[in-house]
């Protein structure tokens, strides 16, 4: 097991958690390990060849039973690189954004590091089972984080609901995975199915399971991943969880962990069950329009800042699903870009709302107001991050959204002069969603930050340097990716072309 960037990325947080067991100052350890993660991510990015195939493959056989062989394998390719970078940057930002007077700080940092390790692991795992395991590893500390350090009247109920909801989602996903393995074994007749993703994809390409099996298994995968991401009817846990969660946990979960569902759907769903994806396309289109329009309008109506941010995060998932529904190389590259952009911007927004809560004690938009005049840094940060999240060109989200819209326009349908294919109507609705996102984000910015001043007394005083650094890092990355997305987009698109082979038109 030579020392490779992937080991650094996953090892650093896990070692950090171990170090936290001894009486080591928590913040120092957390900063150290997330810093190391970023170094590992940059190292991986630097040495990523243009070919985009799976790099740094390493792993060992972990289990062989019941007809499946599970290998604990790590690897990164062009498509998973953006997600890994996102994980490391948001992890560092989350640690920095943690207030110094956090009760039981060591345990809190341990939770953060575990989430980071789990998320990074799930993006680096080249094995279907480990993809699932790492995600579950990341989910547990999220529940602890929300339950213990959360605030708000219905904290316990919300934690309970979130746990049960996400567990249900995971179970459906597990059913999907098992169905997938079973269908493949039935179709290919091979005795032992290796759950290595590359092997699975090749096996599925050789012996594609029957249409009915593909439809059922993809359905389970879609509902499972959808619940974890917040697909329309299965999204109700997200806004409530973020409204109650402490800022760093919300940053990490909304920013990074929610992308696991989309990443998984593309990595497993589209690659192994292409005709399953075709069967579900119309249904997915309807659901994601629910995401964009229904949640968009619901976001306009929210009274609490964190609720609004939660709804906006769920709404942007609609765009990611549009990219997945299109399945074209361009659309999926857009999904990678928008995931990075959305991750960074929503993390920043939660950091700001965390600070607003700390300084004013409430997040009710009706009572807040005029914070920009008393805390200019907060006002500036929220404006920039808000504008980024509604797709201001020059910041990362726009590059993603424009690629998704172009990628989905006319996918799976001819574009000559006949009637527009279904997906194009989806694009029209998604474009309308841009207006909705502008409405609710600017309404919130005006209500909380502009104007003379709210009924709540806001404690002025200097903003801690660590918090400024966290927001500065996020905005910096948004600008870098936004100004020059060619680097990430080429890596992602070549990775996808290699991974989806003939599937992505």
């Amino acid at each position: 097991m030579s020392v490779s960037p992937l080991l650094v990325i996953i090892g650093a947080p896990l070692l950090g958690v171990l170090a936290l067991l001894f009486r080591v100052p928590g913040r120092l350890v957390a900063l150290g390990s997330t810093g190391l993660m970023c170094v590992g991510a940059l190292w991986a990015a630097a040495c990523m060849p243009a070919a985009g195939g799976m790099q740094y493959r390493q792993g060992f056989d972990w289990l062989e039973a019941g007809g499946i062989r599970v290998t604990m394998g790590l690897g990164v390719d062009g498509f998973s690189l953006p997600f890994v970078i996102l994980t490391c940057v948001v992890a560092l930002a989350a640690v920095l954004a943690t207030p110094r007077n956090m009760p039981r700080a060591a345990e809190f940092y341990a939770c953060l590091l575990l989430i980071a390790a789990g998320a990074a692991g799930s993006f680096l795992a080249t094995d279907l089972v480990f993809l699932y395991i790492f995600h579950e590893l990341a989910l547990v500390p999220t529940f602890l984080g929300i339950g213990i350090w959360g605030d708000g009247p219905r904290r316990v109920f919300v934690t309970f609901q979130t746990v049960v909801y996400l567990m249900a989602g995971s179970m459906v996903l597990l059913a999907g995975i098992l169905g997938l393995l079973w269908a493949l074994r039935a179709a290919s007749g091979v005795a032992v199915v290796s759950t290595d993703l590359v092997a699975l994809r090749d096996l599925a390409a050789a012996h594609a399971p029957g249409m009915a099996a593909q439809r059922w298994v993809f359905g389970f995968l879609l509902i499972g991943f959808g619940t974890l991401v917040g697909l329309f009817p299965f999204h109700t846990w997200a806004p409530r969880a973020y409204a109650v969660a402490p800022a760093p946990i919300a940053m990490l979960h909304a920013g990074v962990l929610k992308k696991f569902g989309i990443y998984g759907l593309i990595r497993v769903g589209l690659a192994v069950l292409p005709s399953g994806a075709d069967a579900w396309r119309e249904w997915l289109l309807v659901l994601l329009l629910g995401n964009i329009l229904v949640i968009g309008w619901a976001a306009v109506q929210q009274k609490q800042l964190n609720d609004m941010l939660g709804y906006s995060s769920v709404m942007h998932m609609g765009y990611l699903f549009l990219g997945v529904a299109a399945g074209t190389n361009l659309g999926l590259t857009g999904v990678a870009l928008l995931s990075v952009g959305h991750g960074l911007s929503i993390a920043g927004l939660f950091a700001v709302s965390g600070m607003v809560l700390e300084r004013s004690g409430t997040l009710a938009m009706g009572q807040l107001g005029g914070i920009a005049s008393r805390l200019p840094t907060l006002g500036f940060a929220f404006s920039v991050l808000g504008l980024a999240s509604i797709g201001l060109p020059g910041l990362a989200n726009f590059a993603g959204e424009i690629s998704i819209l172009f990628g989905s326009w006319g996918a799976h349908g001819d574009l000559s002069w006949g009637p527009m294919p279904a997906l194009s109507w989806g694009v029209v609705a998604a474009a309308f969603g841009l207006i909705l996102s502008a409405v609710y984000m600017l309404r919130a910015t005006k209500a909380v930050f502009f104007g003379p001043g709210g009924s709540v007394e806001v404690e002025a005083g200097p903003i801690p340097m660590a918090w400024r650094a966290s927001v500065f890092i996020l905005i910096g990355c948004l600008l870098v990716v936004g100004m020059a997305p060619a680097g990430l987009s080429m890596a992602a698109s070549s990775g996808l072309a290699e991974w989806l082979g003939g599937v992505a038109r």
Binding site: Y165, I295, F398, S403, G410, V427, I435, L442, G451, S494
Partner: protein
């Protein structure tokens, strides 16, 4: 000039904007200097580049997927060069003016940061070489106008106006984006050059009329949003909440003209659909008339100029609709000069009267602020269409185009010209003639040199603008020759209308304390805001409430909590099985045995 230097046109302003926001925020003088320097340098670069005829630099790939690429490319043809000179020139002049105007404002560095961001985005639109790049800078311009309108964000009205501007622009961008997607879907390319080549090669000839019409309409949507045409014009008058240099630069000279410039840029595409041209022409005409009517009855000096801008933009869009893009661009250039001048003059008046904007509180400024008055008069006459000044030539060119196609728009244009002359003379009489109605008006003093010099420069440009041969450059030298022999009808009519307008205005408003005309409807902006409020905004609110209720009660309460309750219920129901006591157990045991026996017997 080497081609690569063109990139400086974009890098300088964005560099200064980032520098100011990141580093120079606390140092107000330094940030102002950096911003003015970058505006001046851009203007110099533009002049040097246009003079030396430098070629556009190599395009750079901004976003690339497997086969789809968005290039950052520059396209510098006569149309772009003229617009570039106007944008950078007027921009620089207004930067200098802002030094004085914003001198006592605490947030000055933030203001200049916003201005630099705006210059970056506006220059981007002018030099853009493909549709997506235009869309990118389109949104950036919208954001910079949002930031600058909401500059004094403490004022709720300013914050609301900024939101309104951005959202209405976003609605326009929605249509614009769909237009771009349609073009890309059917023609498969985004760059203006390749698109023009494909169309000239007959790509659209076989196409049915509806898609081409919708495509052209989509692109026009962008212009409607940005250039404040009738349905989406409501944001421009509210944008006056921003500082006056912002109104001058963004909401008079450059940004609002971006829509017209873009229409001229993609004219080769729009003209393929005749019904689209008619829609554009009539939208322009309607906007011109409606805005002129409303302007007649406005009391705030900046609101009058704002509606006048909307009206003139209507003129330009009408010209494009009448298949005369060159006339539209000519009017755009002259309008940029005298409208910027009028706004700056208004700014100078407001600055002198300590932020008093109601014209009925002014008066007698002719003697108190002579230079401002004379420059204002030059601009007003140019706008009203006084023969010999720039406004006359450009407006006459548009009316000429209407006359050629014998469309009823000619008479509508003349009526609007009359109204324009009328409200400008009203404004001049009430604000500048007679004696000061208020203490502040009587004690007004002339503005400092740094504000007056730009006024003079713009006044000179307004006066001589018509003769600079801009029109010739725009239409290409060949067509310049036959421009003159157009017959006397249109020039005579436009002079007649000008004289009538100024005359009635002067006669009606000499030494008045109140506005003699009632026309309440016009004062209340023809109730556009109330209508929108009752329909669009209310509908959005109700939809939001419904979907929030739906999401909260139907999905999260009914389905999610519902399944929870069902599970609890079933659990409860089965509980009786366990807790019946000893004899109950015996009974169940016996019942089970009986069932087994029965099953065994029956099978």
């Amino acid at each position: 000039m080497p081609g690569a230097l063109w990139w400086l046109l974009l890098l300088l302003p964005i560099g200064s904007a980032l520098l100011i926001t990141a580093v120079l925020r606390p140092y107000r003088v330094a940030s102002a200097a950096v911003s003015v320097f970058s505006a001046g340098a851009c203007f110099m670069l533009a002049v040097w580049g246009v003079a030396s005829g430098a070629a556009a630099p190599e395009p750079v790939a901004w976003l690339r997927a497997s086969d789809w690429v968005v290039m950052v490319a520059m396209m510098l043809d006569p149309l772009a060069e003229v617009m570039l000179l106007v944008v950078t020139g007027v921009g620089f002049v207004i930067h200098v003016f802002s030094l004085g105007y914003m001198s006592d404002d605490p947030g000055r560095s933030r203001f200049f940061g916003g201005l630099s961001l705006f210059m970056f985005s506006m220059t981007g639109i002018v030099v853009s070489g493909n549709l997506v790049m235009t869309f990118i800078f389109w949104e950036l311009v919208g954001v910079s106008s949002y930031l600058l309108i909401g500059f004094w964000f403490e004022r709720p009205s300013a914050a609301a106006a900024a939101n309104k501007a951005f959202i209405v622009n976003r609605i326009g961008d929605f249509g614009f984006l769909l237009g771009i997607l349609a073009v890309w879907g059917t023609l498969g390319d985004l760059g203006f050059g390749p698109l023009r080549a494909k169309i000239e090669a007959g790509a659209l000839d076989t196409a049915p009329w509806l898609p081409v019409f919708l495509m052209a309409l989509g692109l026009f949507c962008g212009a409607v949003g940005k250039s404040a045409q009738v349905p989406l014009h409501v944001w421009l008058p509210d944008a006056m909440e921003g500082p006056t240099p912002v109104s001058a630069l963004i909401h008079a000279a450059t940004m609002v003209a971006a829509g017209v410039y873009f229409l001229c840029r993609v004219f080769f595409l729009i003209e393929m659909s005749v019904p689209a041209l008619d829609v554009i022409a009539w939208t322009g005409g309607a906007t011109a008339l409606v805005a002129a009517l409303i302007a007649v009855r406005q009391d705030d000096i900046k609101r009058v100029l704002a509606y006048s801008t909307v009206s003139q933009l209507g003129y330009m869009v009408m010209a494009v609709g009448l298949a005369a893009p060159a006339a539209a661009m000519f009017h755009l250039c002259t309008h940029a000069f005298f409208k910027a001048l009028l706004f700056l003059a208004a700014g100078s008046v407001i600055h002198a009267l300590h932020h008093q904007q109601d014209i009925w509180k002014m008066g007698g400024l002719r003697t108190a602020m002579p230079v401002t008055f004379w420059t204002f008069a030059a601009g007003a006459l140019a706008l009203a269409g006084c023969p010999g000044l720039s406004g006359f030539f450009s407006k006459e060119a548009i009316l000429e185009a209407a006359h050629e196609t014998a469309s009823p728009l000619l008479w509508l244009g003349l009526l609007t010209a009359f109204l324009t002359a009328f409200y400008m003379s009203r404004l001049a009489m009430v604000a500048f003639f007679g004696e000061g109605r208020e203490r502040r008006a009587r004690e007004a003093k002339e503005s400092p040199a740094v504000m007056v010099v730009p006024l003079v420069v713009l006044a000179v440009l307004s006066v001589v603008g018509g003769g600079l041969g801009i029109y010739g450059v725009l239409r290409g030298e060949a067509a310049a020759a036959d421009a003159e022999g157009h017959g006397w009808l249109v020039p005579a009519l436009s002079f007649l209308v000008f004289a009538a307008g100024v005359g009635t205005g002067a006669w009606l408003y000499r030494d008045r304390e109140r506005d003699p005309l009632r026309l309440g409807a016009l004062r209340d902006k023809l109730y556009f805001d109330e209508v929108y409020g009752a329909t669009v905004v209310a509908a959005n609110g109700r939809l939001a409430q419904f979907w929030d209720w739906f999401d909260h009660f139907v999905i999260s309460s009914l389905f999610v909590r519902g399944t929870g309750l069902v599970a609890g219920g079933v659990g409860n129901a089965c509980r009786f099985l366990q807790g019946v006591g000893a004899s109950g157990y015996a009974f169940l045991f016996a019942a089970g045995a009986a069932l087994l026996l029965l099953w065994a017997a029956v099978r």
